[in-house]
Structure formats: structure tokens, C-alpha cells
């Protein structure tokens, strides 16, 4: 049997002051690691929530985002009659959209940031079913009215219910606030697409994209076959949820890479902290170790015991890091959406698997910080160590 683990637990407890640096180093590293990953997760979740599986987005063939796309009115008219598109009381469930950017001062700093303005069809709420008006009402077609996403209303000045705001050449009244379920639409302002285009002197016969509601998620293939083979059209069809998932990858990759890099640098520091703690533990307990060896515990037992001790310390650090970072869960932050350069609000999303990853990361740091001191402990010459006072 090995050296009992109670020996390590009590030793760590007895030497907690010298352990605290290692614990905090690991806790901090794990905290940053999880925070970064949860930020990436939150960002991805926000964008993915914007899409729905039974909607399809139609953009110009080859366009990688709405911003680089253009769909002329003639095409919209052909698309409206394509198979697979659901029909409501007001005809086909299609919203041709114009996407614009407007600089509006932030409430927090007063500096201007880009808000995404989306010219939509008045029946857009039938198509994007996750979007709900929570205050006021929907804008009326043909009137200078806008509805504002719940993050936008909280982030920018002049976007609260009842206020008016100049966008382009027109003054608009905010008539409603909508909740888009935590998706990127929550950071947008929506109005009548014809009026918005006119206010910014954009041609009224061209849109950035067309979002359609499918009769069922399976109807995508049918729609795709029809519009991509039509010689009059030059468009791509993509399921809305896939479009937003793709939009999120570049930033999530960036955050993950950057987070990984920062966590790596911090991990090196934390491993040195753990090494320092463990080396001093070994140095201070030379005579205890030699006594164990004299009693007949082998070198591998000593290595194992000190490794366990390092893992114990790193586990505590990992759990502490998790607990600290849990307070961030749901906290909202914002970033520039790199596809549109508009400001996009999203929240940290900490999931159990991230916490598990954090603890595993902590244990890995424990192994690196513990293995060399543990080997040193096992290779102390017994007779010499026993002579030490």
C-alpha cells in the first residue's frame, strides 16, 4: 500500500500559507481559461439563436455575409413564388431586408458606436417567431417608426420607447421594444425597409438578403433546387441557423485562440508557482521523506505521494477558479461583430463541460508543477536527509 493520502491532505493544510500562491495562480489561470471559452460559447450561442431551422436566408451567389450581398427586387418577386415557402394571411412569408449601419452614442461612454439598422417587411414577426414585442407595438408599414431590440435600447441613448431619433434624413419614433431571445437581433433596430432605404438614399429596388419561412425544415432542399436552378436568379440559399453559426466562427475562433494563448502564458506562471510550492515542501520535509524511505516506502511511493499532493493543491485551485468565474455566468458584454462592424451584445455562457475542462486544466498544471519536485523527493539520499536538523 502507498503512503496514506491523509499525510498529504494534512501536510497541505499545515503548510497552507506556502500553498496559497500556487492555489491562487492555478485558480486565476483556470478562471481566465473558462471565462474566455465561455465568452466564445456565449457569442456563438447568441448568433446561433438568431437563426431558426425552418427559415432560410437567400443572398447573392458567392456572398459570405449579408453585408456583401445584394438581391434585386425582380429576384425577390420570383423567389416569393418558389416552392417550400410558407404562406400566411398576408401572402408568402418572405422578408426582403436592407441592412444599414448608423452611429449612435453609447449610454455608458457617450461615444458613438455602430448600430445595425434592419429594414424588414411588416410581417417579419411571423417569420422570426423568436422575436416578440415586449413594450409598445410593432411599427406600421409606411410610417417613420422603428422597433428596438432589448439590448440596443439599454446600450444606446435615444432608443427608448416614445423617443424620436434622426436616422438618415428622417426622424423616427421608437414605437416598440422587442426581445429576440438573446440573439444578435436584440442589438438591432428594425423599421420599414422601403423608408429606411429612402432615408439613406439607397435604391428602393435592392435588398441585402431575403429571409423566408419554410413550410417545414425539410422544405429547404425543394426551395434550394428551385431557386438555384432558375436561370433568372443568381442566389445562394442557406438555412438561417447555419448562416449565423458560420458568422460566429471567425470571432469564436479568435476568442478561443486568444484565450488559449493568454491561458497558456498564465499556466506557465501557475506551474512555476506550483513548482516553487512543491520544491519548498520537499525541502522542508526532507527528514520526513527520509523517514518514510527508512521505514521501507520505495521511491515510486514517494513520487506518487508528492504528485498526489500537487494534484490536491491544483484541484483546490481549479475548483476555486471555477467558483470565481461562475459569477460571470450570464453577465452581458458586447463586442464588435466583425461581419457587420456593428455592436453586438452577448453573455458569458458557462456550461458544466467548461467547468470540467477547467478542473482538468488545473490538474494538468498540478502534474507539471508536481512531477519534478516529486522526483527530487524520491531521490534525496536517505542517510544524508536523516542527519538534517
Amino acid at each position: 500500500m502507498a503512503i496514506p493520502i491523509v499525510y498529504n491532505i494534512r501536510s497541505v493544510r499545515a503548510r497552507w500559507t506556502s500553498t496559497i500562491v500556487a492555489v491562487l495562480g492555478i485558480a486565476g489561470t483556470v478562471g481566465v481559461f473558462i471565462a474566455m471559452l465561455s465568452l466564445a460559447r456565449g457569442f456563438q450561442a447568441t448568433l446561433v439563436a438568431s437563426g431558426s431551422p425552418d427559415n432560410a436566408l437567400i443572398v447573392r451567389a458567392g456572398a459570405t455575409s449579408e453585408m456583401t450581398s445584394g438581391v434585386p427586387l425582380d429576384s425577390v418577386k420570383i423567389i416569393q413564388d418558389a416552392p417550400g415557402i410558407a404562406r400566411g394571411a398576408n401572402g408568402p412569408m418572405v422578408t426582403p431586408e436592407a441592412v444599414l449601419m448608423a452611429p449612435i452614442p453609447l449610454l455608458s461612454t457617450g461615444t458613438e458606436a455602430n448600430v445595425e439598422l434592419r429594414g424588414v417587411s411588416p410581417n417579419v414577426l411571423e417569420i422570426r417567431k423568436q422575436v416578440k414585442i415586449v413594450q409598445g407595438r410593432m411599427f406600421k408599414a409606411g410610417l417613420a417608426e422603428v422597433v428596438v431590440g432589448k439590448n440596443a435600447t439599454n446600450t444606446y441613448s435615444g432608443l427608448t420607447l416614445g423617443q424620436t431619433i434622426a436616422l438618415g434624413t428622417v426622424r423616427w419614433q421608437v414605437v416598440g421594444i422587442f426581445d429576440a431571445g438573446g440573439s444578435s437581433f436584440d442589438s438591432e433596430v428594425w423599421g420599414d425597409s422601403h423608408l429606411l432605404s429612402a432615408a439613406y438614399s439607397r435604391p428602393d429596388n435592392s435588398f441585402q438578403s431575403v429571409t423566408v419561412h419554410l413550410t417545414s425544415p425539410e422544405a429547404l432542399g425543394q426551395l434550394k433546387d428551385s431557386v438555384t436552378t432558375d436561370p433568372r436568379l443568381n442566389v445562394d440559399v442557406i438555412r438561417e441557423i447555419d448562416y449565423y453559426a458560420k458568422q460566429s466562427t471567425s470571432l469564436t475562433t479568435l476568442i478561443t485562440r486568444l484565450g488559449g494563448f493568454v491561458a497558456m502564458i498564465m499556466a506557465i506562471g501557475a506551474v512555476f508557482g506550483a513548482l516553487n510550492t512543491m520544491y519548498s515542501a520537499v525541502a522542508d520535509r526532507g527528514r520526513e521523506i527520509a523517514t518514510m524511505r527508512a521505514l521501507g516506502f520505495g521511491g515510486p511511493s514517494v513520487v506518487f505521494s508528492f504528485l498526489i499532493e500537487a494534484l490536491l493543491i491544483s484541484f483546490v485551485g481549479g475548483v476555486l477558479g471555477c467558483l470565481a468565474v461562475l459569477r460571470l455566468n450570464g453577465l452581458t458584454t458586447s463586442t464588435i461583430n466583425f461581419q457587420t462592424f456593428s455592436n453586438l451584445a452577448f453573455a458569458f455562457k458557462i456550461t458544466p463541460d467548461l467547468l470540467v475542462m477547467g478542473v482538468v486544466f488545473a490538474l494538468a498544471m498540478g502534474v507539471f508543477g508536481g512531477i519534478f519536485p516529486a522526483i527530487r523527493a524520491a531521490s534525496l539520499p536517505v542517510a544524508t536527509a536523516l542527519r538534517e536538523l
Binding site: A294, G296, L386
Partner: protein, 247 residues
């Protein structure tokens, strides 16, 4: 029968032949033991005396397999330990040697019970068998009522008794005591010596003990002096056969 002339009949429990130990410090060589011979039978109680620095601890470390000699051989119960590999020697120590140190060397974060149990964790004994052995050992040293105390909660004499319990709990072939009373007052020292004598007389233990103290040494069956790297019988020192005094 204890001999220091290397002329034993080969049946002794411990046989030391031509044992030398040289330390190297800087460029300097320190020859501590020089072709030392010793024969100890089962049940013997030997005391080693000698001035500080004469090599008493070095000799015990070699006998206990904690260090390796520069030359010579040590055979215990038929096993030559001087050629054993590190891990084999470790196993041999666990099985055959009980150590009692001047500084007790108890593990401070473990209770008396847990300290005494340590050597048994290296055996195949079950938890309940271990409990029985630990309780027996603690009752031999008279500390059953202190088994849940930590070393810092015990007096020096009590700590040393826990060390003795730890040394005898696995019933080793012999006990090595390095100045077991060196840190104790006279009364505690007497109690510890009475205990060690009892281990020899009642339990048939073989004990090799280093001490500074002639009163303590007088308890042993035979006292040997370490002089110039070899052992000499006390009587011969007194008769002036060997020059040089005793510390």
C-alpha cells in the same frame, strides 16, 4: 556471542566483514570506517560508544541499509545486503529493520496510531489485522491511551515510545537505535532503556544501540568502542590494550 575480530563461525545473525566507508567532501577523503568486523547473534544487545564524529551513525546507517559501504560486506540472516539494488534494499529494510532515532522522526501530521501503522502499510495485512498489531505495539510501550495524539501533543519520552512502537510493530529481525535517549532527561531516558531491555529480555529482540552515555551503555550485554574506524571491546579499552580515551 559478539565478536569484532572477523573470526565468527558464520552462524551469527549479523556478520560484518571488512567494512569500509569513505566520504568525499570537496577534494578531501574522510575514511570513517576501515575494514571493520562484527558478529552479532540473535537476541544480543550491543552498545556502540565512541566520540562524536567517530562513525557510529555511519555504521548504523550501513547496517540498516540506508547507505552503501565503500568496501566490505554485511550479511543479515543469510542475505548479503551490500549487493542489493535500491528497491530490493528498500523492501529488505521494511521487512528486517526497526529504526529508533535520537530525534524520534515521527511524522508530525500523523497521529501516534497512524505513525505506528506506517510500516504495516507495506505488508499484506488487512485493516483489522493492522489495528490489532498497532494496538499491541502501543500497549507494549504503554501508550494505548495516547494513540490519537499528534507528536506535538506528546512529551519527548512519549514520542520516543511511539517511535519504538513503530520500530517493533512489524516484528523486524533487529532494531537499530541511534542515541535513543540523547534528547531525553534522565528519568525519561531510564524509562526508555527499561523498555528496550524488556524488548530484549521478554521479546527476544536483537538490538544494536549507539550512545554517548556510559550509564545507558551499561545496560547493553556488550559495549563496543568505535576507534579509528574499527570496533574494540570495552574491556580491552579499560585494560589499556588500545590507546586513546572514550568521550
Amino acid at each position: 556471542m559478539i565478536r569484532v575480530d572477523g573470526q565468527g563461525n558464520g552462524k551469527s545473525l549479523i556478520q560484518v566483514r571488512g567494512l569500509s566507508k569513505t566520504y568525499r567532501r570537496g577534494g578531501e577523503e574522510i575514511q570513517v570506517l576501515q575494514r571493520l568486523n562484527l558478529d552479532v547473534d540473535k537476541g544480543d544487545f550491543v552498545g556502540f560508544m565512541g566520540p562524536s564524529g567517530s562513525g557510529k551513525t555511519t555504521l548504523l546507517n550501513l547496517l540498516g541499509g540506508l547507505d552503501v559501504p565503500t568496501q566490505g560486506s554485511i550479511t543479515v540472516d543469510g542475505d548479503e545486503i551490500t549487493h542489493m539494488s535500491g528497491s530490493k534494499l528498500t523492501k529488505w529494510r521494511a521487512r528486517h529493520v526497526g529504526f529508533i532515532f535520537q530525534m524520534y522522526n515521527l511524522i508530525p501530521v500523523l497521529t501516534a496510531y497512524q505513525n505506528v501503522e506506517l510500516p504495516l502499510l507495506l505488508t499484506k495485512l488487512s485493516g483489522s489485522e493492522r489495528r490489532k498489531h498497532v494496538e499491541t505495539a502501543l500497549s507494549v510501550v504503554g501508550l494505548t491511551d495516547r494513540m490519537n495524539h499528534y507528536p506535538r501533543q506528546l512529551s519527548g519520552g512519549q514520542e520516543q515510545r511511539v517511535t519504538i512502537a513503530r520500530a517493533i510493530v512489524s516484528d523486524p529481525t533487529f532494531l537499530l537505535c541511534d542515541e535513543p535517549t540523547g534528547d531525553l532527561d534522565r528519568k525519561s531516558a531510564d524509562e526508555i532503556m527499561a523498555l528496550i531491555e524488556e524488548l530484549v529480555a521478554k521479546h527476544g529482540k536483537t538490538v544494536l544501540m549507539v550512545t554517548h552515555d556510559p550509564v545507558v551503555a551499561a545496560r547493553a550485554h556488550t559495549t563496543l568502542h568505535l576507534e579509528k574506524g574499527v570496533l574494540v571491546e570495552a574491556s580491552k579499552v579499560e585494560q589499556g590494550v588500545v590507546a586513546g580515551g572514550v568521550a
